[in-house]
């Protein structure tokens, strides 16, 4: 979970960095758009049942690596900022952390047959 706390902070940092580091235009817009999304996915994955959502930040981190070149940033500071944050976000998104509870087989058990919850339900007496 610590990894997703850092990713949430990085997302908020992206929201604030145009004002703090002093850059504007397309680079600022990009950070203002991507920052809240990264922070939200990171916060949602603080909980074990939705820990998988952390993986959605991998494409967003990859976009941060590409954005300076695709969008053509006009100064160095936002280029460095985006690439650094992007790389760290990708790395930390892979950190699953501890999952201590069991969830009847998880999300895929909603459509897969004979998963943990179905097996356990068969063992229980009917009420």
């Amino acid at each position: 979970m610590w990894a997703q706390i850092i990713n949430a902070i990085l997302g908020i940092w992206l929201m604030a960095s145009p004002a703090i580091l002093g850059f504007e235009n397309i680079a600022a817009d990009n950070d203002h758009v991507v920052g809240p999304i990264i922070a939200s996915f990171a916060v949602i994955s603080w909980w074990e049942a939705t820990r998988v959502v952390r993986l959605y930040n991998i494409p967003l981190g990859a976009w941060l690596l590409l954005a300076p070149w695709v969008l053509g940033y006009d100064s160095t500071t936002p280029v460095l900022n985006d690439m650094l944050v992007g790389a760290v976000v990708i790395g930390l998104s892979f950190v699953k952390g501890k999952v201590t509870e069991t969830y009847g087989g998880g999300w895929s058990a909603i459509w897969k047959s004979d998963s943990l919850h179905a097996q356990e339900a068969r063992k229980q007496p009917r009420v």
Binding site: I44, T50, Y103, A109, I110, L116, A118, V127
Partner: protein, 186 residues
């Protein structure tokens, strides 16, 4: 009825217990309060809006073109969303993931879009209006924090629906929690 009976099969805890649900309901009520306050400003009941950090920005955001897209102020819509979250979070006992899947699934569906719209509005603030609104950010943070803890119960209900489907029980009856279904599916 022992506490253990509320635990879904294959789970280590009961996601519908009050300890799990009350914090979410509490957050929804706080969100409702914030959104109602902002809506009252938008409806001109209050002349000023509380803004500790960003000067006149809150006024700019809350009176912006986006906030007037709908027939009612956007904060009023947020307040309705939070109220729906609080109600669908509070209704039902600790086995409601199987006794009333409809309310749990509605709860999950209410929490999701509210969070999504909040994030969208947070993006629009700096991009379209070059301004930040402290209370809007607080409201968005609350609605995002609510998503994770609400989803485990939603998952338990969806797994229950899958078991009902496998048992060839009417999904309609399982969804609305008919008594006859509860004897056949656990």
């Amino acid at each position: 009825m022992s506490e253990k009976e509320g635990i879904p099969p294959g789970w280590s805890y009961n996601p519908a217990s009050w300890g799990q649900r009350l914090p979410i309901v509490g957050l929804a009520i706080i969100g409702f309060g914030i959104a109602t306050y902002m809506a009252l400003f938008q409806l001109k009941v209050f002349d000023t809006v509380w803004e500790p950090f960003f000067g006149n920005d809150s006024r700019k955001i809350l009176t912006s073109s986006v906030s007037k897209i709908l027939p009612i102020p956007d904060a009023a819509l947020g307040a309705i969303g939070y109220l729906a979250d609080a109600i669908t979070g509070a209704v039902g006992g600790t086995r409601r993931w199987r006794t009333m899947p409809w309310i749990v699934i509605m709860f999950g569906l209410a929490v999701g879009p509210l969070g999504f719209i909040s994030i969208l509005l947070v993006i629009l603030q700096p991009v379209m209006f070059d301004a930040w609104c402290t209370l809007c950010l607080c409201s968005a943070a609350i609605s995002v924090i609510m998503i994770g803890p609400a989803m485990d119960e939603f998952m338990a209900s969806m797994q229950y629906m899958k078991r009902a489907k496998d048992a060839r029980v009417s999904l309609w009856k399982a969804f609305w929690g008919y008594k006859e279904v509860q004897g056949k599916v656990i």
